[in-house]
């Protein structure tokens, strides 16, 4: 039970998440995103084993963003009419405006937890392999992305190396954050130049070992579709329908 979300086929999960998101975007009542958010949390509590501390840490910036949405929608919301429920500092807040504001904030929360669910239960490499095997992504692109992904730690080392090298030669570290953003160029250009050379080398190495980028029928690491995947998509669909209908009924 605790492995269900982890074992789900990544492509199926990706499609389920995308469809849910696009559907929820049609609703402007506060209940639909709230119901959906709560159900996703329940789903994750019962069907996955994740590090909840880390999860909370990731959720934090989005909760802050959701709050930003709440107050800007209240202040800059479209004039929709409705009765005024309270006024504050000359701003009259109508019940419809308040409902819209809540809806948008809950939407941010629902989307972030849905996304986090995907991120916390999916192995990135399996996701790319599954995109290639189930959704017929071109192997040239799929392996291209994986090469980039494997280079991540190398890039990180290179970043510190370039910075240290520049500091060694007396480059000043800017005090203000906007100056630091402007001086990003100094690190970015060498990084990109290094990336160009790495790309050439690894492409050459891949071709030397017989990689043509043609689609194939058999894979070294097959990612399979099982009956469980259909069951899980059904669960997602049920949650989606319930929150949509429940939202309409409650508001």
């Amino acid at each position: 039970m605790r492995n269900l979300l982890h074992n789900m086929n990544p492509s199926v999960k990706f499609i389920a998440v995308t469809i849910s998101m696009l559907t929820i975007a049609f609703f402007f009542n506060p209940w639909t995103p709230l119901l959906f958010w709560v159900s996703i949390l329940l789903l994750q509590l019962t069907m996955s084993h994740i590090n909840w501390k880390l999860w909370l840490l990731f959720m934090l910036p989005f909760s802050i963003g959701a709050f930003g949405y709440l107050w800007t929608t209240v202040v800059f919301g479209a004039d929709t009419g409705g009765t005024i429920i309270w006024s504050f500092a000359g701003i009259n807040v109508t019940d419809e405006q308040w409902a819209h504001a809540l809806s948008l904030s809950f939407r941010v929360m629902a989307f972030s937890s849905l996304s986090l669910m995907f991120a916390f239960t999916t192995d990135p490499v399996k996701f790319i392999l599954s995109l290639m095997q189930q959704l017929k992504l071109s192997p040239k692109l799929a392996y291209g992305v994986m090469v980039g992904y494997q280079f991540l730690p190398v890039m990180k080392d290179e970043f510190t190396q370039i910075q240290q090298a520049q500091r060694l030669r007396g480059a000043v570290v800017e005090k203000h954050s906007w100056q630091r953003i402007l001086s990003m160029r100094r690190v970015l250009i060498p990084m990109l130049a290094g990336a160009v050379r790495k790309a050439e080398r690894s492409a050459f190495a891949m071709e030397a070992r017989g990689f043509t980028g043609e689609p194939r029928n058999a894979y070294y690491r097959p990612i399979l579709l099982s009956r469980m995947d259909f069951l899980m998509s059904f669960v997602f669909l049920t949650i989606l329908l319930t929150s949509c209908l429940g939202g309409i009924w409650l508001s």
Binding site: V17, T72, Y149, A203
Partner: protein, 193 residues
């Protein structure tokens, strides 16, 4: 579409996607914190940063699809790194990439001067705004506020992505590492450059 692509060009895009994927994520965090203070407007002026990879890649590789594929790849890398925006970022990347791609397609993939690059930035801005209007529910906001958001985003796309993208591309060309890519070939003859 990929038939005419060399593997090294695909891998180049992917590595650029990694570098900019990290840059993009950094700015997502910066923007989120800003957003709590000044609301959705915080994202608008930074939006150009999130379009830049498609413009740089197209400027260097100059093949149909370079803008669309690189932006999508950058979004995919962001998802692979693991972040809270999650898989819907891929959709955002697809939309932004298509916007830039549309601008290059309009000019027949023949011109890559600053005006076309700025147009590509604007294309990304317009496409992403339509998508954002729908997904983030801008319909609930005041129309004049939405118009302000749109203007800032278009300006950001043209200036940060268009001019900034050309600037980075040219600086990279000057390092000499881009020999063997379309940008270096056309620069020599000074055609369309």
């Amino acid at each position: 579409m990929l038939k005419s692509w060399k593997l090294k060009e695909v891998v180049l895009m992917s590595l650029f996607a990694v570098v900019f994927g990290i840059v993009y994520l950094l700015f997502v965090h910066v923007a989120n914190i800003w957003a709590a203070v000044i609301g959705p407007l915080a994202y608008e002026w930074m939006f150009g940063i999130w379009f830049i990879v498609s413009i740089i890649c197209m400027y260097i590789i100059r093949k149909p699809g370079a803008a669309f594929l690189s932006e999508t790849m950058a979004a995919a890398i962001e998802v692979l790194i693991g972040n809270a925006v999650g898989p819907r970022l891929i959709l955002t990347g697809v939309v932004q990439g298509l916007g830039a791609e549309a601008a290059f397609a309009l000019t027949g993939y023949k011109h890559f001067n600053i005006l076309v690059l700025m147009l590509a930035g604007i294309g990304s801005a317009v496409f992403s705004f339509v998508y954002g209007y729908f997904v983030s529910g801008y319909a609930a906001l005041d129309p004049s506020f939405v118009a302000l958001m749109f203007t800032i985003r278009v300006l950001s796309g043209a200036i940060i992505a268009g001019i900034g993208g050309k600037y980075i591309g040219d600086a990279l060309l000057a390092t000499g590492s881009l020999r063997g890519y379309a940008i270096a070939r056309t620069k020599k003859g000074d055609v369309n450059a």
